[in-house]
């Protein structure tokens, strides 16, 4: 479970470039819930994720994961509780390390790293097993460099890596937006399966309204650094993109003008 309480972040404070990225964001995600977060550019989606991951300091507010206040924790410490998959397929793995070395890095997430061998017979077999479920033939390429894989393959492996160790929250930052539609669908299905199997609490940021309605249990829309729309359960069933736009306009009293949001 994760609780974000009144998160506030302002960039370039006191200058003409001052931007309020988060202006009192409140979001509570109970254990096992899969939330899709949507919003136009500058709505605070990515800032929220970076704040939760500890990459951006908060001006105000606090973040609790499983009732532990992690507001002051440095980013690496939070990874014991929070796992991430990035938007850029190249960002979530090291291209000049092998597939199994990358997986080994993720395998050590949340654990103390010693001087024992990073890749052992046991972990090699485990990684092989995990990769075989992708059906991409990567289980036979454990010693290939990550840089040899396509963006979609890398993103699929990144997803596996994020779920190698248990986490209280899984954060997905537009993780299919850089992929072509067929691969994106594959990665989304994989996401759904992994979240369900492990009963993960997940926060998926997306640019696509369609995705935000089709996947997960709840849809949250951000605007101006706050939650402006929050639907789940019965209200969410049968909801279509135009409904979502109408609800947004009603809730906010202004027209939704971000083309990219409407078209995707």
């Amino acid at each position: 479970m994760i609780v974000c309480e009144n998160l506030k972040i302002t960039f370039n404070k006191g200058t003409v470039m001052e931007t309020r990225a988060l202006s009192g964001l409140n979001l509570t995600v109970p254990k096992g819930q899969f939330v899709c977060v949507i919003g136009s550019n500058g709505s605070g989606k990515s800032t929220m994720q970076n704040a939760i991951a500890g990459e951006l300091p908060l001006d105000e507010g606090r973040i609790l994961v499983d009732d532990v206040d992690i507001t002051t924790w440095p980013a690496p410490k939070r990874t014991g509780l929070v796992a991430r998959v990035f938007q850029d397929p190249l960002a979530g793995s090291c291209e000049n390390l092998t597939i199994q070395e990358n997986m080994s890095l993720a395998w050590s997430r949340g654990r103390k790293r010693g001087l024992g061998r990073a890749v052992t017979k046991e972990t090699h077999a485990l990684f092989r097993d995990k990769l075989s479920r992708l059906g991409l033939g990567l289980e036979n390429r454990l010693e290939d460099l990550m840089g040899l894989l396509s963006g979609g393959q890398r993103q699929a492996v990144s997803l596996l890596m994020a779920s190698l160790q248990p986490s209280s929250v899984l954060m997905l930052d537009e993780h299919t937006s850089a992929l072509d539609p067929r691969i994106a669908a594959f990665v989304m299905d994989l996401t759904r399966d992994i979240v369900q199997e492990n009963n993960l609490t997940a926060i998926m940021v997306t640019h696509s309204m369609r995705q935000a309605l089709d996947y997960g249990d709840r849809t949250v829309m951000l605007h101006g650094g706050r939650v402006v729309l929050d639907v789940a359960g019965e209200d969410r069933k049968g909801l279509d993109v135009p409904d979502l736009i109408r609800m947004f306009e009603k809730a906010h009293g202004e027209e939704l003008s971000d083309d990219s949001l409407l078209l995707s």
Binding site: A53, E55, P74, A75, P76, K77, T79, G80, A83, R84, F86, A91, G92, S93, C94, E95, N96, L97, E101, S104, L105, A106, S108, R109, G110, R111, R113, G114, L115, G116, R117, A118, V119, L145, M161
Partner: protein, 302 residues
Amino acid sequence: MSLIAFLGAVELGFIYGLVALGIFISFRILNFPDLTVDGSFPLGAAVSASLIVAGFNPWVATLIAISAGCLAGFITAILNVKLKILHLLASILTMIALYSINLRIMGRPNVALITEETILTPFADLANTLGIASYMLMPVVFLLLAIIIKLALDWFLNSETGLAMRATGANPKMARANGIYDSRMILLGMAMANGLVALAGAVFAQSQGSADVTMGVGVIVIGLASVIGGEALLNPRSIMRATLACIVGSIVYWLAVSLALNADFIGLEAQDLKLVTAVLVAMALVLPGSRFAKMFRKKAGS
């Protein structure tokens, strides 16, 4: 080239192979262009020589020299990681500070070790007992030293912590997202790199019979030449090959220098050493496929 010149070059190749391994850690593993080595090499020499002259056991003196090198690398890393000074500039600051520190440590510009007992004395005695010249045995001693260090480094870089260090240099954001304290890895790696370079300096001083405050000039270029040259020769894909390439590159470098300086028809003399070094590095950089070429020639062409 005479046999003595050849074996001398091989000996230097192994000693500077340690420098190349240190530079491999900072430049290749951590992606940290570190010029501290121009100060930590003579630091290792100064500390070990001063302590040996003061009556310390040469092995203890050498260990303290390594620690001093680690501290120098650590300070460069602190300047960068904690005080947010650009990595290149941070290393230049430490390097220039070390020049004064080395003079302070020695109390004068150079310290002679010719008559002192060093870590190499037992091996010189062994050569005497065996009835061979010590210049024949020394390359073997340094070969063993280089191999031990290389194997230890291979083992470390394939460990969980070593892998975390490699990830830090390759993709810090990804490293942090997997629970790696990247700044700690930079501190550790920079200490290791400069500790190795200081060890090379300590061994070099004991092998040459003196420590000199100016002996660090251009060490970074020599080390880089070795790393780049080795990579071009061996095209390393694994850590084990990459560390081997550092040592091979260093041997090839010193043989090339020795050949150039000994070939009378070229007319080069000892004072041309640094010029030859610079030319060799420039040649290595323009070699096609050099991975360093990307790092240092980004701006050319684009």
